[in-house]
C-alpha cells in the first residue's frame, strides 16, 4: 500500500514537473509566433527595414524556443499513457479525439510550415513566406484551443455518459464536450497570458538595449510595441481573470474557497484576505490582513452576500489550501505589477519621454520573466485547486495512475529532472545570449553554416553580394562577419 502511495506521489511530481517545464515554451512561442507574423506583415505593408530586422532577430530566438517546446511536448503526449493509464483508459474516448484534433489541425500546421518560415524566405518569395509565418502562428493558437478544451473538460466535465465498465463516453453532442462551461474563460485568460508573457520578454529586451543606447531605433521599436501590449492587454487580462474566477465559483466552488482562504462560511459577507498563512490543521488563516466583506463584493457584487467556506466540503475533498492560496496571490500580484508598467509607459508616451525613462526601462527588464511566473502560478492555482480529482468530482487522481512500481517512476523522474535542467537550461542560456546582442540593421536570420537548405547562391560569395538592404532575406547571411 505504502509502495503504491509512493509511486502515485512520484507520478504526480513527474507530471507536474514535465508539464510546468513544457508550459513555459508554448506560453512564449504562442505570443512570439504572433509577434513575428505582425512584424513580417508590417514589413510587407510599410517596407520599413526595422520590421524585417526585428523579424530576423526574434526568429532566431523563436527557433530555439520552438524546438524546446516540441521535444518537451512529445513527452506530454505519451505521459498520459505511461503514468496515468487508468485515466487514459477511462477518459480516452472523450478527450482523446480532442487531442487527435490538436495534432491534425495544429501540430502538423506548425511543424509543416516551420521549415519554410525558418529557412525558406529566399526560396518561396515574400508573400508565401508570410503565409507560412501566419500558418505557424495560427497553429500555435489552434493548439492552445484544443489542449485548453481538454483541460477545461477535466475541470468542468459536461456532455458525457458513463459506461458500465467505468469509461467516460461522449454524449450525443461534441459541442457540449468541447465548449464545456469553463473553456471560453480559460481560453481567453490563457491566450492573453501567453501574449503578455511574450510582450514582457520583448519589452525587457528592448529596455535592456535602450539602457545601453537609448537612440537604438530597433530597441525603441520593440520596446514601444511591447508597452502597447502591456497597456492594452493587461487590463483586458485582469477583466478576463475576474470573469474566469466567477465561472470557477459557479462550477468549482471549493477551488475558490481555497484561493480566498475561506475555511469558514461567512453568512453575512466574506472578507478579502490579502495576505496570511493558511493553516489547514487549525482551519484558519494566521496573521491575516483582510478587508471586511470585500470578497463578497468581488465574487457576488454585494457586500453582504453570504459565501460558503471549506467547512461545507468534506475534509477528504478539500484541495491543498496553502499552495492554491499562495499561487493565486503571486499571479494576481504580478498582474497588477504588469498593469503598473503599462500605465507608466502610457504616462511616458503621453509626455513623449517613453525612451528617456531609465527607471521604467529598469523595471521592464526586471519584469521580463514575470509572465512565466504568472503563467506558472495561475496554472498551479487551477490544477492544484482541482485536487483531489483529476476529472473534477468524478475521478480521483489517486485512482487514475498506472500500475507502475515506485522505483520505475523514481528513476524516470530523476532522468527527467537531470535532462530538463541541463538541456533546457542550456537552451535558455543560448536564448539569453541572443537577447544580449543588440538588434541592428541588416540583421541576419537563422544561419546554418555555409551549406544547407538555406543557401541558393554561389559557393564562394563575394563580400559585395550582400547589400544589407530590404530585399536581402533573412538567410542571406553568407558574408556575415559576426559569429552565429
Amino acid at each position: 500500500m505504502l509502495e503504491n502511495l509512493d509511486a502515485l506521489l512520484l507520478a504526480r511530481i513527474q507530471f507536474a514537473f514535465t508539464v510546468s517545464f513544457h508550459f513555459f515554451f508554448p506560453a512564449f512561442s504562442i505570443g512570439l509566433a504572433s509577434y513575428l507574423a505582425v512584424l513580417e506583415g508590417l514589413w510587407l505593408k510599410t517596407g520599413k527595414s526595422v520590421y524585417l530586422d526585428l523579424f530576423k532577430y526574434w526568429l532566431k530566438i523563436f527557433a530555439i524556443a520552438f524546438a524546446m517546446g516540441v521535444v518537451s511536448g512529445i513527452v506530454m503526449s505519451y505521459q498520459f499513457g505511461t503514468n496515468w493509464s487508468v485515466f487514459s483508459d477511462k477518459a480516452g474516448p472523450v478527450i482523446g479525439p480532442l487531442m487527435a484534433y490538436e495534432v491534425l489541425t495544429a501540430f502538423f500546421l506548425e511543424a509543416g510550415f516551420l521549415g519554410v518560415m525558418l529557412f525558406g524566405m529566399n526560396k518561396v518569395g515574400k508573400k508565401l513566406h508570410f503565409a507560412a509565418t501566419l500558418m505557424v502562428a495560427l497553429g500555435t493558437f489552434v493548439s492552445a484551443f484544443w489542449i485548453l478544451s481538454v483541460n477545461s473538460w477535466m475541470q468542468t466535465p459536461t456532455g458525457f455518459e458513463i459506461a458500465a465498465n467505468g469509461q467516460f463516453l461522449p454524449g450525443p453532442s461534441w459541442w457540449d464536450i468541447v465548449f464545456n462551461p469553463s473553456f471560453p474563460y480559460r481560453l481567453a485568460h490563457t491566450v492573453m497570458a501567453a501574449y503578455l508573457t511574450t510582450a514582457f520578454v520583448v519589452g525587457a529586451v528592448g529596455a535592456w538595449h535602450l539602457l545601453k543606447d537609448r537612440a537604438n531605433p530597433h530597441a525603441r521599436k520593440m520596446f514601444s510595441m511591447a508597452m502597447w501590449m502591456a497597456a492594452i492587454v493587461t487590463p483586458a487580462q485582469i477583466f478576463a481573470g475576474d470573469m474566469h474566477g466567477l465561472n470557477t465559483l459557479e462550477h468549482q466552488p471549493a477551488k475558490v474557497m481555497a484561493m480566498e482562504g475561506h475555511y469558514q462560511s461567512h453568512p453575512e459577507g466574506a472578507p478579502l484576505i490579502l495576505f496570511g498563512i493558511p493553516d489547514s490543521e487549525a482551519k484558519t488563516v494566521r496573521y491575516a490582513i483582510e478587508i471586511p466583506k470585500f470578497s463578497s463584493l468581488i465574487l457576488k457584487h454585494d457586500l453582504n452576500a453570504p459565501l460558503a467556506g471549506l467547512d461545507t466540503i468534506p475534509d477528504n475533498l478539500e484541495p491543498p489550501v496553502p499552495v492554491v492560496f499562495w499561487s493565486f496571490r503571486i499571479m494576481v500580484g504580478i498582474g497588477f505589477a504588469m498593469l503598473g508598467i503599462g500605465v507608466w509607459s502610457l504616462w511616458g508616451r503621453v509626455r513623449g519621454t517613453l525612451y528617456d525613462l531609465p527607471w521604467l526601462h529598469r523595471a521592464a527588464v526586471l519584469m521580463g520573466p514575470s509572465g512565466f511566473a504568472a503563467v506558472l502560478a495561475g496554472w498551479i492555482t487551477t490544477e492544484v485547486g482541482r485536487q483531489p480529482f483529476v476529472i473534477y468530482g468524478l475521478l480521483r487522481t489517486a485512482d487514475a495512475a498506472s500500475p507502475l512500481d515506485a522505483p520505475a517512476v523514481a528513476a524516470s523522474l530523476l532522468a527527467f529532472i537531470l535532462v530538463y535542467f541541463t538541456v533546457f537550461g542550456i537552451g535558455v542560456w543560448y536564448i539569453l545570449k541572443l537577447m544580449g546582442k543588440s538588434p541592428h540593421a541588416g540583421e541576419y536570420g537563422v544561419k546554418r553554416g555555409d551549406v544547407g537548405p538555406i543557401r541558393t547562391a554561389g559557393i564562394t560569395p563575394g563580400p559585395t553580394q550582400n547589400t544589407g538592404g530590404e530585399e536581402t532575406l533573412p538567410t542571406h547571411a553568407r558574408d556575415e562577419k559576426e559569429p552565429v
Partner: protein, 331 residues
C-alpha cells in the same frame, strides 16, 4: 462499414509515415559520427533541418491517435514498455534540440553532435524494442498491464531493436545518396550497402524468430490456405531488397530511397499479418480496445478533412527544399 478497422488502418498509416519519415532523420543521426565534422556533417544535417519537425509529428499522431481510437491499447502498452518509452522520449529531446543548439555554440558543437547521434540511436533502439515487446506478448489482467517493469527486455526485443536501428540507418543513408553529391554521396553509398545488407539479414532473423516464437504467428504464415494469401509478402520483400541493393551500387540518385521505403512498407505489412486482429497481441483485439462509435466517427471527420491537406502542405515543404543540399542551381 466497421470504423474500428478503418481506424486500425489510420493508426497503421500514421506509424508507417512516422517510421519512414523520422526513420531517415534518426538514421542520419545514427550515422552522424561517420561524417567528418564541419562541411560533411553540416550538409547531412541541413538535408533534414527544414522537415524533421513535421516528420516527428507523425509520432504524436500515432500516439495521440492510439489514445483516442484505442484507449485501452494505449493504457496497456505504455506502462508495459515504460522504460523504453521514457528512454525514447529523452533520446528525442537530445536529438531535437541538437538541430538548433549545434549552430548556437560552435565551442560545443562536438558535444551536440554526440547528443544528436546518441539521442537518435537511443530513440531508434527503444522504438524497435517496443515493437518487439508488443510482438512477444504483454500480460494483461482486467483492463491493465499485469507484468513487471523488465518484461520488455529479452533477446528477441534486442533483435527487433537492432533491426530497427539498421533499417533507419539504411533509410538515412539512402536519403543522403539522394541529397548529397561528390565524396559525401560516395560515403553515403558505402553506408547504404552495409546497412542495407544488415537490414535484410535482421528482417529475416526477426521473421524466423516470429514464426518460432508463437504457434499462432506460425499458423498465419505457414499453414494452408493462408500461405497463398501471405506468400507474396516475403517474395516481394526479396525482390525489393535485391533491386534496392542493385540501385545503391548502380549510382542511382533517389531510387535506393524509394526502394528502402518499399522495403519498410512490406515489413509493416508483414507485421500487420502477424498481429491482426490484435491491438495488444494475444490479449486485446482492436474491437476490445476501440473507443465507441461516436469518438471514432467524430475523429474520422477530422482525418478526412485534414489529412489530405497535411499531406499536401508537407509535400510542398519537401518540394521547396528539393534537390541537392548546398549547391548552386539545384532548383
Amino acid at each position: 462499414m466497421d470504423l474500428t478497422v478503418v481506424w486500425a488502418f489510420i493508426i497503421a498509416f500514421a506509424v508507417f509515415a512516422y517510421v519512414v519519415m523520422d526513420g531517415f532523420d534518426l538514421g542520419i543521426g545514427i550515422l552522424f559520427p561517420t561524417f567528418q565534422p564541419g562541411r560533411e556533417r553540416d550538409r547531412a544535417m541541413n538535408s533534414i533541418a527544414p522537415v524533421w519537425d513535421g516528420n516527428e509529428t507523425w509520432l504524436v499522431l500515432g500516439g495521440g491517435g492510439l489514445f483516442a481510437a484505442f484507449p485501452l491499447a494505449y493504457a496497456v502498452i505504455l506502462p508495459a514498455t515504460y522504460p523504453l518509452i521514457i528512454a525514447m522520449l529523452l533520446g528525442l529531446v537530445f536529438r531535437g534540440v541538437a538541430f538548433e543548439y549545434r549552430w548556437r555554440d560552435p565551442g560545443h558543437q562536438n558535444f551536440w553532435d554526440k547528443a544528436f547521434s546518441g539521442g537518435s540511436l537511443i530513440a531508434a533502439l527503444a522504438q524497435g524494442m517496443t515493437l518487439g515487446a508488443l510482438l512477444q506478448g504483454i500480460e494483461v489482467e482486467g483492463r491493465a498491464y499485469a507484468g513487471s517493469w523488465w518484461d520488455w527486455l529479452t533477446p528477441y526485443t534486442l533483435l527487433t531493436g537492432l533491426g530497427t536501428v539498421a533499417g533507419y540507418a539504411l533509410l538515412g543513408s539512402t536519403w543522403l545518396i539522394w541529397k548529397l553529391d561528390g565524396d559525401e554521396q560516395s560515403h553515403a553509398r558505402k553506408l547504404a550497402i552495409r546497412w542495407g545488407a544488415a537490414t535484410i539479414i535482421l528482417m529475416g532473423a526477426v521473421s524466423v524468430y516470429n514464426v518460432l516464437l508463437n504457434a499462432d504467428y506460425a499458423a498465419r504464415w505457414l499453414s494452408a490456405p493462408e500461405i497463398y494469401w501471405v506468400a507474396p509478402v516475403p517474395i516481394l520483400t526479396a525482390i525489393v531488397a535485391w533491386s534496392m541493393l542493385r540501385a545503391i551500387l548502380k549510382d542511382r540518385n533517389s531510387k535506393p530511397f524509394w526502394l528502402g521505403i518499399a522495403l519498410f512498407f512490406l515489413g509493416m505489412s508483414g507485421l500487420g499479418v502477424t498481429i491482426w486482429p490484435y491491438a495488444v497481441p494475444e490479449s486485446v483485439t482492436i474491437w476490445e480496445a476501440a473507443a465507441p462509435y461516436r469518438s471514432q466517427a467524430f475523429m474520422l471527420v477530422g482525418v478526412a478533412l485534414t489529412l489530405p491537406l497535411i499531406i499536401a502542405y508537407t509535400a510542398w515543404a519537401y518540394w521547396v527544399f528539393r534537390g541537392k543540399v548546398g549547391h548552386e542551381g539545384y532548383h
